[in-house]
């Protein structure tokens, strides 16, 4: 069992989750993920690592409550424990001296882009971090990210903080900052990954996306996490989760993520109350 040090909602529907897992904390690298099982009847779900403390033996993730398993996690209190916390899994994000790197984070990816930005900064890159959220109240860790970035750009859909609009404004906002990235790295929800890749493709900006397919084992055994990259079948858990966003078959990817919607998501929309339908 792995003890939960912290589990608190940091912004609506997003939870900070700190777990005691010394072996994971000892080996984790930016871009890795862990597989968590909330309880003995639980699914194995992947969560990206957003931070860690090797000396304390703890690992931090940010998760969004979307379905049954994340709802179970959201009910756990500090001091409780989860039966499975395996990792670090996946290849780490490639960190090099690229020059100028644009780190894009949204949703839980605001958390998981943090160690990536930090490592890129340490490797001597100029780091521009762009955070996207529906509204200002959904932003978090701005200070942490500002501290490891040369520039922090914020975009909110309703304009309550930073620029108004969404990810489509990337080229314009970067131009305004006078920067051309040598590499773009995106962590967050699938739509954001896809949209960013679509925008950067005509600009020729190499774009790495941290993919989030359905997973089970996370060790390359089951093949459920497969996707098509440059026309080849890849397993996200061992070949990724980072891939070149311009090479991904996004339609297929989006469809695969919906495989279990009839079983898992549709029931959540149903209600026993007769005034609902």
């Amino acid at each position: 069992m792995y003890r939960i040090i912290e589990r608190r909602m940091i912004v609506p529907n997003l939870h900070e989750f700190i777990v005691e897992a010394p072996a994971v904390a000892e080996s984790v690298k930016p871009g890795n993920f862990v597989i968590v099982r909330p309880d003995d009847a639980g699914e194995r779900i992947p969560l990206s690592v957003a931070d860690w403390d090797a000396s304390a033996g703890t690992v931090t993730s940010i998760f969004m409550q979307v379905g049954g398993s994340t709802a179970k996690l959201a009910r756990l209190k500090p001091g409780a424990a989860v039966p499975t916390f395996a990792g670090p899994l996946g290849k780490e994000t490639e960190i090099g001296a690229f020059g100028t790197v644009l780190c894009v984070g949204g949703c839980y990816g605001i958390g998981s882009i943090y160690p990536i930005a930090r490592a890129l900064k340490e490797a001597g890159n100029t780091v521009i971090t762009l955070l996207e959220a529906r509204s200002s109240y959904l932003l978090y860790w701005e200070d942490k990210l500002a501290a490891v970035s040369d520039k922090l750009i914020i975009v909110t859909r309703d304009g309550t903080k930073g620029a108004k609009g969404h990810i489509d404004r990337i080229p314009e906002l970067l131009q305004r900052a006078g920067a051309v990235p040598d590499r773009v790295i995106v962590n967050g929800c699938t739509f954001q990954l896809m949209r960013t890749a679509e925008i950067t493709k005509p600009l020729g900006w190499k774009t790495i996306v941290n993919m989030n397919p359905i997973m089970i084992d996370g060790t390359g055994m089951c093949g459920v996490c497969r996707l098509s990259v440059a026309g080849k079948m890849k397993f996200a858990c061992v070949d990724g989760p980072d891939f070149d966003g311009h090479e991904i078959d996004w339609d297929e990817f989006l469809a695969r993520r919906k495989t279990y919607n009839p079983e898992e998501v549709d029931p959540l929309r149903r209600s026993s109350c007769r005034s609902h339908f």
């Binding site: 072996a23 499975t84 670090p88 089970i216 084992d217 055994m221 098509s228």
Partner: protein, 470 residues
């Protein structure tokens, strides 16, 4: 009466059958199909054994069980002595008795094989193992004094469990690292409950733990800690990480929704208990028309699982003919009884989906058998223009698994073999690294439970010699 006639008269050529759950009932549950011999039947079957002076059956068993020896004890009703005799060479008789391809191994070598009535060795082995379990506590074996040497075992499949068992008995301190949250390897996540009850696997794992073996789950060697880092703490290592890399056919449409690898399909049901969704959280699809591609044990297990999940029609699509089906004969028979439809001499060439990315149809070619190929089996050749399509909502790819590349990828200096697995010296299981041994499917590619155990046994002995000399 001539000598020969006398002999014939004495021979009992009736293989005792094992009671099974009725096929109409069993398709509705996941309980074990074969029910095991009652005591009287076991003794009758054991009496058929000729107690050959120079038995051949032993030679067919990859771990060399003293087969006439244990059978003799059954005849005498001394079941505890029978188990003891088996356990001298096989730590997991309840498992082997159930899943060994006996007709290819021990039973094939039995002198009564050419009379088409080999002794049902596997069933007898299972009988005594189950008898022991029913008695409650198994007799504790003699343990050697502690040596102070430490061995790490990667993977809690049959290979790893065997190594841990043997080395613990020899007094070494053993730690097993397992990537998943439960132990057993394929015995747990692959082979279904109706063929190998998970309680048996758990019992065997608990037994190994009772010998003082430490088991660390959720630990992915190569990721959580590398092999080299572990070897700073341990004197030797055994890698039994299995063949956990599912193959696909590389035909169009394999990433459609509704297409599963057998590993995914079976893992959802077995390890994650998806058949009890939503009581357990992991969902599993319950489509009405399912195709399973392949002809081995994995394919049979997938097809029979689909039947139990309520499919109306389950087709097994195999490119050769019935005679070449690599699955155990008993399982083919079970699948047929349970209504699985065999589409033989049929080659899938493409999967067709709808506009939302869901599988709708399977396109196939008919095959005919040509000349024998290198494996001695007649080679299937496509019949030109014989394309046809069949509607399916789900398809399970059960065409095999390759060695799991995680350890080779993260461990420098490990020489690989032609199959992409770890190269070992056959007589010892030693790899190109002097302190690392390997065995089971990571070396052989997808093989069998008993060969994985045999490898484990050989490696444990070699590791023991190495540690004593150290």
């Amino acid at each position: 009466m001539s000598e020969e006639k006398k002999e014939k008269k004495r021979l009992d050529l009736k293989r005792r059958s094992m009671p099974k759950q009725d096929e109409h009932e069993r398709v509705k549950n996941f309980d074990e199909v074969a029910l095991g011999y009652p005591v009287e039947t076991a003794i009758e079957e054991a009496r058929r054994c000729l107690q050959c002076k120079k038995p051949l059956c032993n030679q067919g068993c990859p771990v060399g069980i003293d087969i006439p020896g244990f059978i003799k004890f059954i005849v005498e009703g001394n079941f505890s002595a029978a188990v003891k005799r088996i356990k001298e060479t096989n730590a997991l008789p309840a498992i082997c008795g159930r899943v060994c391809p006996q007709e290819e191994q021990c039973e094939k070598m039995c002198v009564l094989h050419n009379k088409k009535a080999p002794i049902c060795i596997g069933r007898l082995e299972r009988f005594v193992a189950d008898w022991e379990a029913a008695q409650g506590k198994a007799e504790a074996p003699a343990m050697a004094a502690k040596t102070g040497r430490k061995v790490a075992v990667v993977g809690a499949g049959p290979a790893g469990i065997t190594v841990a068992n043997d080395l613990a008995l020899l007094g070494h301190e053993v730690t097993i690292y397992e990537a998943l949250h439960e132990c057993g390897g394929v015995l747990l996540y692959g082979i279904p409950e109706f063929r190998l009850p998970k309680a048996i696997v758990r019992r065997e794992v608990d037994y190994v733990r009772s010998l003082g073996v430490k088991i660390v789950t959720d630990f992915v060697v190569g990721k959580t800690r590398t092999v080299d880092k572990l070897l700073e703490e341990f004197d030797a290592m055994f890698v039994g990480s299995g063949a956990g890399l599912p193959w696909f056919m590389e035909i169009p449409g394999e990433n459609l929704n509704g297409v599963f690898s057998a590993n995914e399909y079976l893992t959802r049901v077995n390890l994650m208990r998806g058949f009890r969704f939503p009581e357990f959280d992991t969902p599993v699809k319950r489509p009405s028309r399912v195709a399973v591609v392949g002809g081995g044990n994995v394919a049979m297990d997938s097809a029979r699982t689909a039947v139990r999940l309520g499919a109306d029609e389950v087709h097994l699509v195999y490119r050769r003919s019935k005679a070449e089906l690599p699955a155990r004969a008993e399982e083919v028979e079970n699948a047929e009884e349970e209504g699985v439809i065999f589409d033989l001499l049929t080659l899938p060439i493409g999967l067709i989906g709808d506009e939302h990315g869901w599988l709708r149809e399977l396109e196939c070619l008919r095959m005919e058998l040509g000349e024998p190929d290198a494996s001695g089996r007649r080679k299937p050749i496509p019949v030109k223009g014989s394309n046809f399509r069949v509607p399916f909502e789900a398809l399970v790819m059960a065409i095999g698994n390759g060695p799991n590349p995680l350890i080779p990828m993260t461990t420098p200096g490990l020489t690989l073999n032609k199959k992409g697995g770890i190269q070992t010296e056959e007589a010892t299981g030693q790899t190109s690294r002097p302190d690392i041994w390997a065995g089971g499917d990571i070396v052989r590619g997808a093989a069998t439970v008993i060969s994985a155990m045999g490898d484990g046994r050989v490696a444990a002995a070699a590791i023991h010699r190495y540690l004593l000399g150290k």
